[in-house]
Symmetry: C2
Subunit: 453 residues, 2 copies
């Protein structure tokens, strides 16, 4: 059971916390919460309904506040910020890394942003403004300008002396970046190579210049792809003139990968991945209503197809009993193809070069499954309704609908993508419209042609 363990551990904490909250003993709650890492506290806050959430938030050590805010979804963050006054917010965010602060800053009230900017020294303010000048979802927003650079024309001992003077390195520093006098990126030197080479080794012998730098305009999806394809821990970010601007670290990339997955899973149900589990009823309702209304529209389309055959159903009511099976099975078969296609599109494995081959493969799988399940269904229907004609009709209709489902499962996401829409979000509505309409139409149409004399 894939998620059992996390569930067990976190939900045990949740249980303990809930019991302690219910009993009003806040001392144990405070102790429990403050043994956790900020990300764990964030996760726990997400799992609490508004009232309890506010109580627990008040008990979190002030020094963890900033990191916790970084680790929760937009909606929960909003609810936490609402419980803080301006001074508390400033105290919470002023020690954050620039990239984390940039991530938070747009959720802060304008007056607070001004105060935060005023409380920063000029250097940091300029860095923050630089990061904020890049569009969201690009490398520029993900990077931290805090990098350690060295020159190529020195020896290991010079670098080590420099580092000892400098003191602590930024988190996740696995490489130092080698730059020219004009701060152009030349390559990187790993800490591992510094500690395994003699003091007298020149840095330019240790430079790895094979790893390309990331362009500041690169999308965060492309950044995530490069990190996981190349197993990077950190990577340099440069502008068009190859000037080193900052670095991106793997922890931010892990967050992107998780968000992409949530975006796909929740997006397919018309939800936003930032949605709070306990968002207010009115807000949750209005948001879902949009998606459900679109679905209502497509349901009417399918119903209007059935409506065309009222006369047929009136004469043979068994059709009404069986028609949802034909439509529903098409939806199920199409959903399987869709799941494979959406993964393939997300990984870049599906494109113009292989769509035809995939279509041919899926058409055959759909047809074969249609024949097998159609035959099975025909036998059952024969014993249920004692009509060979009805058996024949449902056999043909199911086979045809599973074939349509396979074709739609391949073509709907590919077409959406070609026209610039996110296939993970809209595919399933289009697919079930096709399988419902085609399912009802073939089944009732064939029945009209073959069974009514």
């Amino acid at each position: 059971m894939a998620e059992a363990v996390r569930h067990d551990k976190t939900s045990r904490q949740l249980r303990l916390l809930s019991d302690a909250l219910d009993s009003g003993r806040l001392g144990p709650v405070r102790r429990l919460v403050n043994t956790l890492a900020p990300a764990e506290i964030g996760n726990l806050l997400e799992s609490l309904p508004p009232g309890k959430r506010e109580v627990v938030w008040g008990l979190v050590d002030a020094e963890d506040d900033g990191e916790v805010l970084v680790h929760v979804g937009d909606e929960v963050r909003e609810s936490l910020l609402a419980a803080m006054d301006t001074d508390e917010i400033i105290a919470a965010v002023e020690d954050l890394d620039i990239d984390d602060l940039a991530d938070l800053v747009e959720d802060l009230p304008a007056t607070v942003i001004d105060e935060v900017l005023k409380s920063m020294d000029r250097d940091n303010r300029e860095r923050l403004e630089q990061v904020l000048s890049y569009p969201e979802d690009t490398a520029g927003r993900l990077m931290n300008p805090d990098v350690v650079t060295v020159r190529a024309d020195v020896n290991v001992d010079v670098v080590l002396r420099f580092l000892r003077l400098r003191g602590e390195l930024p988190e996740h520093t696995d490489h130092l970046y080698v730059v020219s006098r004009r701060h152009q990126y030349l390559g990187r030197v790993s800490l591992a190579s510094l500690v395994t080479h003699e003091d007298s080794t020149p840095i330019n012998r240790l430079i790895d210049d094979e790893q390309p730098a990331i362009d500041v305009d690169e999308s965060d999806d492309e950044v995530a792809r490069q990190f996981s394809d190349h197993d990077w821990i950190s990577a340099p970010v440069v502008d068009d003139n190859n000037i080193l601007l900052g670095r991106i670290t793997i922890d931010d990339v892990v967050d992107i990968i998780r968000e992409q997955a949530e975006h796909q899973a929740l997006g397919a149900a018309g939800l936003d991945e930032e949605e709070d589990l306990f968002s207010p009823v009115w807000r949750a309702m209005r948001r879902r209503l949009i998606w459900l209304s679109i679905n209502l529209g497509t349901a009417f389309l399918a119903a209007s197809v059935v409506g065309q055959f009222e006369g047929t159903i009136d004469k043979l009511v068994a059709l009404a009993v069986l028609m949802p099976i034909v439509a529903g099975m098409g939806g199920n078969a199409g959903t399987q193809v869709l799941a494979l296609m959406i993964r393939g599109l997300a990984l870049g494995q599906v494109g113009a070069a292989n769509v035809k081959t995939l279509l041919w493969k899926e058409a055959r799988v759909g047809l074969l499954n249609g024949l097998v399940l159609g035959a099975l269904l025909a036998v059952i229907v024969f014993f249920w309704f004692h009509s060979a004609g009805l058996s024949a009709v449902i056999f043909i209709a199911l086979t045809a609908n599973l074939l349509f489902a396979a074709l739609a499962g391949v073509m709907v996401p590919v077409t959406l993508k070609r026209f610039g829409y996110d296939p993970a979000l809209a595919s399933s509505i289009f697919l079930t419209t096709v399988t419902d309409v085609m399912g009802f139409f073939t089944f009732l149409g064939l029945a009209t042609l073959l069974l009514l004399h």
Copy 2:
């Protein structure tokens, strides 16, 4: 569009490759393929149908073969291994890290495994056997026994001299582990602290003993959770006696996170995340047939409910036209709740402590949406069929079914989890069974009670 970029880049490569393959010019194909990282080559191979895949696989540099095999899904790996002879396989895998080799070894033919073991030195063979002795999906299988350890009672200069003698460090070494004489784990020292402290600093002043070691029996999901909650790059693995056995690195954790996401996305459609996009038609068909057969069973359950009301439909055929709307909208509304719940369960945010609160929230959202959409539907139905009675029936039935859908959306995954099943896999079948059965039953039942005199 979240995946557009990856798609664009990879599918451009795919296009180029496909064109070159079609024209029979293998020189350009070879050059193109061998500019890519092994993970990228793996991705490209996954996107090729069997014939082309084999041709391109033959053109990959022999030295990349092992890494490519590590980076493809089980089914594709099988197809690649089938194209290699024993010597090629041994050459491909013998330079892999122990953890990667352990990952591969069970897919190799038994004779090849023997040969591989024979070709390894005793040390490595014992390490591999140790890793293989742990169950799959545990920390023991993920770890690499290749770690660099130091003693606490030496100074920085001693460690630096030791490292210079040792030479290259294992990939992603960000910390050295401090162990006792009996190889018990005591803490870790970062390379960053080694290079920022004077030669004379004693190691025991630099030890970070706050990060707990990972237990060798820990599940890989729990390992992934700890890595992402604590932003680790690597972590030590110990046995029950705190003896250091190896280390896990973030690159393997990123793979786990990706696999978890694919498992959820494909599992919900009854598919395995290892499935090859181009798996043979017969194999793909048989695998999907199982899931579709289960769905056929539940479809019959729903159809049998409709069957109970044949007499009613016979008298009022409009019911047959409208009943799929009631059932389908319930399915859609329930799917939204389910998506939120499955994420919450995976993150440990949903448990016994808050299920009641969630149920109450979702019940209200469902009821409100039911009232709004029910009213809208009632108005449309009135103008379509000119029957106030039918309008009233569909209003009540839709409202009730959206309420049932909300309750089922919360309770189905929670109940599956409590009984030890993976909610990501089976929830949606149970949910749509509930919404179909309840949708047909309330709508047709109410119609029988209220409209037939």
